[in-house]
Structure formats: C-alpha cells, structure tokens
C-alpha cells in the first residue's frame, strides 16, 4: 500500500497533515513558529493578540500538576498593531514551507473583536481563530462570550463584517450546552470551530504555603487530564453543526488524534504535548497516525472521520 494521505483542507486552506499548533503554545514570534513548521506541523497558530498590549499575569503562570497542566498566562501580547508586524514576518517565513498561518485574536467587546479582526487581516494570515473564552465586559455577570450563544454569535457577526478571511471560532468546554454555542456561531457565519480551549478553571493549592500556586489563583487545565472532555465536546459539536472542527485537548499520541478524528474532527490541535514530548512531537504524531492508518488500511482521514457517531 502507498503511504496514507494525511492532508486536510479547512475552509479552502490545505494542511499537509492534520496537526495544528494550538494558540498560546510557543507562538510568540516568527522564528519559533518557523521552527514548529519545520518540525512538521500541518499549520501553526500564533498567540492570541488583543486590541491593547497586555503584560499578562505574574508568575507562576504554568504548572504541571501531575495529570496535566494548568495555566494562567493572562494573554500577554504586544497588541494587535505590533502583532501585525510579527505576523507579517511569520507569514514570510512560513510561505516557502507551505505551512498555513492561523492568527488568533481576542477582545473584550463584540465590536472590539471586529476591529482586531480588521487590523490583523492586514498581516495576511491564512485563517483567523476567534478566541471567545474571554470575559464579555458588557455582560452584567461577567460571563465569557463563549458561555452565551447570543454573545458568541454577536462576536462572529462583527468579525465576519470586518474581514473576508475564514473565521474559526474557538469554543470553551466550560458551558452547560456546547451544542447550543456551536449552532449559534455556525448560524452567525463561522467557517470552522476549534475546541476545546482550556477546561475549568482549576486551582492547585500548595499545602505548605496554604495558597493557590498560580499567581492568578485559578487557571485553565490542559493536557492528558482533559482528553475525554475534549473528545466528547468535539463529538457533540460535530453532531450539531456541519462546518469543520479542529479537535484540541490532551492529544499526546497518534492514537489520541485518531480518537479526535473518529469523534468527527477535521484537524487536530496540539498544545500541551509540546511540553510532554517536545517540538518534535509533530513529526512523531504524523508517524504514529500514518502507522495506524496503514495497519487499518485507511488511505485518507475521511475513511474513519466521524465513525464513532455510527451504530
């Protein structure tokens, strides 16, 4: 049998394999994103840029608590104006490699999302990822956009009005009904969904210090601990919408990626695995996925995508 074809097309953009560097992991600059692209990623996502520069939270910001990671980095970024320059350089470096660039963005009002999207579009990324796991400052309860179908849809409408780039909406698992959110953003014009952002928040307390270890006290949980939640979210979303889904959460090995794809994912995000297995994880995932496909006689990802929904 010839080598299986791992490529996937998301909103018209071709990825040579389904493994996408998740936002907030390494994506701080052009050189490091180029390195990840050279390490074999199918696409890379830059860190999330917001309307203004943000310093982020003080340390500790990321911890390995045993079952996974917990982080409260606080979206440090130089603001979207500087972001455009960083992304332009990144795009320049990725072009010869044929690895698409996903620009991630956030804001604290729906209008803000539209404005950041308009600005960031100048950098010419291949895709936009809309990180809606941020508090909606206009919501009287301070709920994140990701927790309210109407607020989430409003964000997408603003973004779609501001750019012609395909918009991937990144959903949070911390909601009672993720299908409702998925349907709302699809209806508002989202071109794809990525899920999940970090779980929780969670808290890890140091029993010698008698206080939470993260300076921000609480943080989002990622890594192996969240995989079953992520797989279920992807499964639920894929049963509710027909736009493509990038499955993210706890994927460390090729078999985890197979699970995501069987749940319906078109592509697979890779975050914490960079900690557990190093930046070389992309090449290894590709080999593991190929090996699985060869052993099972699958020529393309579509041959087993979504099969967990049957029967």
């Amino acid at each position: 049998m010839s080598r299986p074809d791992l490529s996937v097309t998301i909103c018209g953009v071709v990825l040579k394999n389904p493994f996408v560097l998740a936002s907030g992991i390494l994506g701080t600059g052009a050189a490091i994103l180029e390195r990840v692209a050279r390490s074999g990623a199918g696409a890379v996502t830059a860190k999330s840029y917001g309307p203004e520069p943000r310093a982020g939270h003080p340390n500790p910001t990321v911890l390995d608590w045993g079952g996974g990671l917990i982080n409260a980095v606080g979206l440090p970024n130089p603001g979207v104006e500087v972001g455009v320059r960083e992304l332009l350089e990144t795009k320049e470096r990725l072009r010869p490699l044929g690895v698409p660039l996903i620009a991630s963005l956030f804001a604290d009002t729906a209008k803000g999302y539209g404005e950041v999207a308009r600005t960031i579009t100048q950098a010419g990324p291949d895709l936009l990822e809309i990180n809606i796991s941020c508090p909606n400052v206009e919501d009287e309860f301070g709920q994140p956009f990701a927790a309210d179908p109407r607020a989430a849809a409003q964000v997408i409408l603003e973004v779609k009005g501001a750019t012609s780039l395909p918009a991937i909406v990144k959903l949070s698992p911390n909601v009672a009904d993720i299908k409702a959110i998925a349907r709302a953003v699809e209806q508002a014009g989202a071109d794809a969904i990525s899920a999940i952002n970090t779980l929780g928040p969670g808290m890890v307390i140091d029993i010698e210090a008698g206080r939470p270890i993260l300076a921000h006290r609480v943080g989002g949980v990622s890594g192996p601990a969240i995989r079953p939640i992520a797989v279920r979210c992807v499964y639920d979303i894929c049963s509710a919408v027909s736009i493509p889904v990038i499955g993210i959460g706890g994927v460390l090995r090729g078999q985890d990626a197979v699970e995501m794809i069987m749940a319906g994912a078109s592509a697979v995000g890779v975050g914490s695995a960079v900690y557990y297995r190093g930046p070389g994880v992309f090449k290894r995932l590709e080999v593991e996925l190929s090996t699985y496909m060869e052993a099972h006689g699958y020529a393309r990802l579509e041959d087993f995508r979504g099969v967990a929904h049957e029967g």
């Binding site: 390195r35 500790p60 990321v62 911890l63 608590w65």
Partner: protein
C-alpha cells in the same frame, strides 16, 4: 503525581557575596547538572529563574535587581523558599583543560561547573569580570575549588582594567584551552563567541531570557527559534541573531 510542582525548602544560611549579591543555602539537595536552573517561588511575590550554584546543599546566588530578588534578599535563615527544578539543559563537560568566563553573576552556574570539573580532575582556569572590585563574584570560592582565577574590572579597581573578554583573549592565546564556558550579559557572550570562533575553540554559553513557564511551552524565552528554558540555557553555539 505532584513531582513537578514547587517543593518547599528552608533557608539554612544566607551569605553576603558582594554589595548586591547574596547566596542562599537551602536545607535540600537535588540531582542536577551544572548549568541547569530552578524556578524560585515566593508565594504572593513571584517565581523567577536562578542558576544552581551547588546541588547539595541546594544553593543559589542572587543579585538584587528588582522586586522579586529584593524579596529574596529579605529572607532570613529559617524562612522558606519554594523551587521547581532542575530545569533546562546544562553544560557538557569535555576536555582536560578548560576556561570559564564569567561576567557579573554569570559566575553562579560556572561555580557548579567548576565543582564538577574539579571532581573529574580537570584543570580549570577562570576569567572573572565585573564592573568594579566590590562586584567581583566568587573569586575566593573559585580559587578554593582549585581553579586558577584571573580577574578584571571595568573601572580597574581590581585586576586588569577592561572587559572580561580582553582577559579571555589573552588567556585563550596563552593557554589554548580545550573548551570555553561562559555566562554573563548577552554582549559579553557575543564577544566570547567571536573570540572562540576565530580560534576554533569549542565553547558553551549559558543565556538568560525573560521566562514564564520554564518548561518549554509558552515561548516567552524564545530566541532564534530556541527555547532558552528547555533547549538551553546552555548552548554550544550562540543562536544566530540572538
């Protein structure tokens, strides 16, 4: 399960080194390689990277340069300090005859290296530089380990006047060391790289960058596509464009 969370230790000794630099000896011991670092955490203050000066009793040496290091400097014996580590990739020791080049508190990781080099019977020379006499770190400790120490200061208040890289240049030509190990400010490391490259001497440098996670994930410390916290802090050549 909780192996990689901060561990607590008690400060056993606080030793003044220079006017701005203090050594903290903890009642803990770890396994580590010279050049590795730890993240020191003071609850409610911050968590920052420091080179391991000695793995047992675990020792760090800290220059008071800002908020966190100032809080560290207020620790007294009996108080507690948390740490995650060892982290990063340290020096690879090789060659019978080595030369260490330290600028400022760059002497910290090199102290651990000198310790290990002595234990494996190597001949160790050290070029130690600082702004002024009162900033020279570890001249006595390094000599005590059996190193041959040369010193220089930028203001000439002790030893040669000039940058430590001038010292390196003359020592390199004179003694032809098998390899050079350097730690200090970025500009110094660049000069070290130039001097060694010109002479074909292999070198390793320990670099510093602003760190958050310390575990190779967040990208804060990235330089030329390399993560100082995990691919370094020791590099066997200076990352291009760093």
């Amino acid at each position: 399960m909780r192996d990689r969370l901060p561990r607590v230790a008690t400060v056993a000794q606080v030793i003044p080194e220079t006017s701005k630099v203090t050594t903290f000896v903890l009642d803990a011991a770890i396994k580590a390689h010279p050049g590795q670092f730890l993240m020191a955490w003071l609850p409610g203050v911050n968590e920052k990277p420091f080179s391991i000066v000695r793995p047992g009793p675990l020792t760090i040496t800290v220059a008071n340069v800002g908020n966190f290091t100032d809080a560290l400097h207020r620790l007294v014996p009996g108080e507690r300090l948390w740490y995650r580590g060892p982290l990063g990739r340290g020096f690879r020791l090789s060659g019978r005859d080595i030369l260490l080049v330290a600028g400022g508190y760059g002497a910290a990781p090199l102290h651990f290296l000198a310790l290990a080099a002595r234990d494996s019977g190597m001949a160790v020379r050290v070029a130690l530089g600082a702004r002024a006499q009162e900033d020279l770190l570890f001249p006595g400790r390094l000599a005590g380990l059996g190193c041959r120490v040369w010193t220089c200061t930028e203001d000439g208040s002790f030893g040669e006047r000039g940058p430590v890289t001038d010292l390196l240049q003359s020592l390199a030509d004179q003694h032809r060391p098998k390899s050079v190990y350097a730690c200090g400010p970025q500009a110094m490391l660049q000069a070290v790289a130039g001097i060694c490259d010109a002479r074909g001497i292999p070198y390793q440098v320990s670099m510093e960058r602003y760190m958050r996670c310390g575990m190779g994930l967040c990208g804060s410390c990235a330089v030329a596509g390399l993560r100082v916290c995990r691919d370094g802090p020791v590099f066997s050549r200076l990352p291009p464009g760093s």
